[in-house]
C-alpha cells in the first residue's frame, strides 16, 4: 500500500520534465523531416557531386554516436560564439540548449530519416513515373503526383520507429549540454531523485513508464495516420504492404 502511494506520488513529478523531452522531439522532427527529404532526393540525384555529399552526410551522422554529436555541436557552437553569434546579436538563440538540442537532433534525425526515405524512393514503381511523364507533367508535378505519395507510404512504418527513437534520444540532451535555470528532462529528474535516496528501482521505473507511455501515444497516432494512408491497399495483401511494427532498426 505504501509502495503504491509512493509510486502515485512520484508519477506527477515527471510531468513538467516530460515537456522538455516532448519539446525537443517536437521541435526537431518537422525540420529534420524537411531536411531528410532534401537529403534523400540528393542521395538519389543524378548529379554525382550532390549524391556524394548527401551520402557522406548521411553516413557520417548515422555512423557516429549522437552522444558525441551533442558534445561536438555544443563545442563548435561555443567556438563560433565570439566570431559569429555575438557580433550578429543572435547568441541568445544560438547558444541556448533549447536551440542546440533540437539542432543536433535535427542533424541526426535528418540523416536517419533520409536513409529511410531514400530506401523508399527507390521502390517507387517506374511505370507510374513513366505514366506521369507521358502525360507531360513537370518534374515537380511528377514528384507530387507519384514519387512523394509512394515514398511516404513505404517509408512510414520505418519513420514511425525513427520518431520513437528520436524521442528516446532526447534523454541525452541534458547529459551533454549545460543546464539553464532549473530545466530538467525525465531522465535527469530520475537521476536527481536517485541521488537523494538511492532508490534506483522506483525512480528509473517511473521514468521508464513515462517514456513507455509517450512511446505508445506516438505509435497510436502514427498508426492511425498509416491506416488512412494505406486505404488504397487491400488488407489481405501483406506482402506489398509493409506492416507498421514496433521494430526499430536503428537507435543511436
Amino acid at each position: 500500500m505504501e509502495l503504491i502511494q509512493t509510486i502515485i506520488a512520484e508519477i506527477p513529478l515527471y510531468a513538467q520534465p516530460a515537456l522538455f523531452n516532448i519539446y525537443f522531439a517536437a521541435a526537431s522532427l518537422p525540420i529534420g523531416f524537411v531536411f531528410a527529404v532534401l537529403l534523400a532526393l540528393g542521395k538519389n540525384s543524378k548529379n554525382a557531386l550532390i549524391r556524394r555529399l548527401c551520402s557522406a552526410y548521411i553516413y557520417a551522422f548515422r555512423g557516429s554516436p549522437l552522444f558525441i554529436q551533442f558534445f561536438m555541436f555544443y563545442s563548435i557552437m561555443l567556438a563560433l560564439n565570439p566570431v559569429w553569434w555575438r557580433p550578429w546579436g543572435i547568441a541568445w538563440l544560438m547558444m541556448n540548449p533549447l536551440f542546440i538540442g533540437p539542432l543536433a537532433l535535427v542533424m541526426n534525425t535528418a540523416a536517419y530519416s533520409a536513409e529511410i526515405l531514400y530506401g523508399a524512393l527507390r521502390t517507387v514503381p517506374k511505370g507510374e513515373l513513366e505514366a506521369a511523364r507521358a502525360f507531360g507533367m513537370t518534374p515537380f508535378q511528377v514528384f507530387r503526383t507519384v514519387t512523394w505519395p509512394n515514398t511516404i507510404r513505404v517509408a512510414w512504418p520505418a519513420y514511425t520507429n525513427e520518431v520513437v527513437f528520436l524521442f528516446h534520444s532526447t534523454a541525452l540532451v541534458y547529459f551533454t549540454l549545460p543546464v539553464i535555470n532549473a530545466q530538467r528532462d525525465i531522465l535527469n529528474t530520475a537521476q536527481n531523485l536517485f541521488e537523494r535516496d538511492f532508490n534506483a528501482f522506483l525512480h528509473f521505473s517511473i521514468a521508464a513508464l513515462w517514456f513507455l507511455a509517450i512511446t505508445m501515444v506516438i505509435f497510436l497516432v502514427f498508426g492511425r495516420v498509416y491506416e488512412r494512408m494505406m486505404r488504397h491497399m487491400p488488407k489481405e495483401r501483406t506482402t506489398s504492404r509493409p506492416r507498421l511494427r514496433f521494430g526499430p532498426k536503428y537507435i543511436r
Binding site: 554516436p65 558534445f71 561536438m72 528516446h168 532508490n199 534506483a200 521514468a207
Partner: protein, 278 residues
C-alpha cells in the same frame, strides 16, 4: 624536452611541438582509454550474442512461460531509451548484490548506525571502481543489445526455408541434429545483416561509458579540450574541445566503416554457395 632536440632539427619547431603535445601523459592516457571502449564493445558484443541466443531460444520455446519471458525481454528495450537502461542496470545490479550481501553481514546495530538510505549497513557496501563499472557496462550493453540480437536471431531462425529442415527430418536426423547441422548453420546467413546493425548500434553506445564514471575516450576528450589557465597543469590554452570531439566523431565513423567492411566479408563467407536473392 632536452632529448627531443634532434626532433626539432628534423621536422621543425612547430611539428615537434605538436608531436610533443600530442604524446604528453594526458594524451597517452586518452589513447590508453580507448581500451575501455574496445573492451566494452567486444565483451558487450559477445554477451549480447549470448543473451540474444538465449532470448531467441526462449522466444521460440515450446513452453508458454519461457516464451512470455523471451517476448517481454525482446520488447523491453523498444519502449524505453537505451541510456535509461544503461544507467539503471549497473545501479540495480550493484544494489541487488548489496542487498543479498546485507542479509549475511548486517546486524541490527550496524543498520542503525548507517545514516545513508543505501546500502542497509556499511559492511554490505560494494565498492565500484573503473573495472567493476566496466564489467557492469559490458553486462548492460549485453542485456540491452541482447534483446535486439534475440529479435534478429528469432527472425532469422524463421527465415530458414522449411524445406531444408524437412529434408533433414525426412532422412532421420534427430531434432538436435536438425537444429545444429542445418537450422542454426543456415540461420547466420539471414541473421548477419541484422547483427551487423546491432553491432553498429552497440559500438555507438560505447560512447556512453563516461556516464558510469569510467574515464573513457569521451571523458578524456572533454578533459583535454577544456581550457587551461594554470601553467603548472601544463600547456595554457583556450577551449579546444571542438577539435577533440570532431576527432571522436571521425573515429566512430571510421570504426563504422571498418565494421561494415568486416561484416560484408563475413556475409560473403557465410553465404558461400547459398543462393543470392535480391
Amino acid at each position: 624536452m632536452d632529448g627531443a632536440f634532434w626532433l626539432f632539427d628534423l621536422v621543425g619547431e612547430d611539428i615537434a611541438f605538436w608531436l610533443g603535445y600530442l604524446t604528453n601523459g594526458k594524451h597517452l592516457n586518452w589513447y590508453a582509454s580507448f581500451r575501455f571502449t574496445i573492451m566494452a564493445a567486444i565483451f558487450g558484443g559477445c554477451l549480447a550474442l549470448v543473451f540474444g541466443l538465449l532470448g531467441a531460444a526462449a522466444k521460440g520455446s515450446r513452453f508458454a512461460v519461457l516464451r512470455a519471458i523471451g517476448t517481454i525481454y525482446v520488447s523491453m528495450v523498444r519502449g524505453v531509451p537505451d541510456v535509461l537502461f544503461f544507467l539503471f542496470f549497473p545501479l540495480a545490479f550493484e544494489q541487488g548484490v548489496e542487498w543479498v550481501w546485507s542479509m549475511q553481514v548486517c546486524t541490527p546495530d550496524s543498520i542503525a548506525a548507517d545514516q545513508a538510505n543505501w546500502p542497509p549497513c556499511r559492511e554490505a557496501n560494494w565498492l565500484l571502481s573503473t573495472y567493476e563499472y566496466l564489467i557492469l557496462a559490458c553486462v548492460s550493453l549485453g542485456i540491452i543489445f541482447g534483446a535486439f540480437t534475440a529479435n534478429v536471431i528469432h527472425g532469422a531462425m524463421r527465415a530458414v526455408p522449411r524445406g531444408q529442415l524437412e529434408a533433414a527430418r525426412a532422412y532421420g536426423m534427430s531434432e538436435f541434429q536438425v537444429l545444429t547441422r542445418i537450422h542454426i548453420r543456415q540461420m547466420w546467413v539471414y541473421a548477419l545483416p541484422g547483427l551487423s546493425n546491432v553491432w553498429l548500434l552497440l559500438i555507438k553506445a560505447t560512447s556512453l561509458l563516461s556516464l558510469l564514471q569510467i574515464a573513457d575516450i569521451v571523458w578524456w576528450a572533454g578533459q583535454l579540450g577544456s581550457p587551461n589557465f594554470l601553467p603548472q597543469a601544463g600547456l595554457v590554452h583556450g577551449d579546444w574541445r571542438w577539435a577533440y570531439f570532431i576527432a571522436l566523431f571521425v573515429f566512430y565513423i571510421l570504426v563504422t566503416l571498418l565494421s561494415e567492411k568486416g561484416f560484408s566479408r563475413l556475409t560473403v563467407w557465410a553465404r558461400r554457395g547459398m543462393p543470392v536473392e535480391g
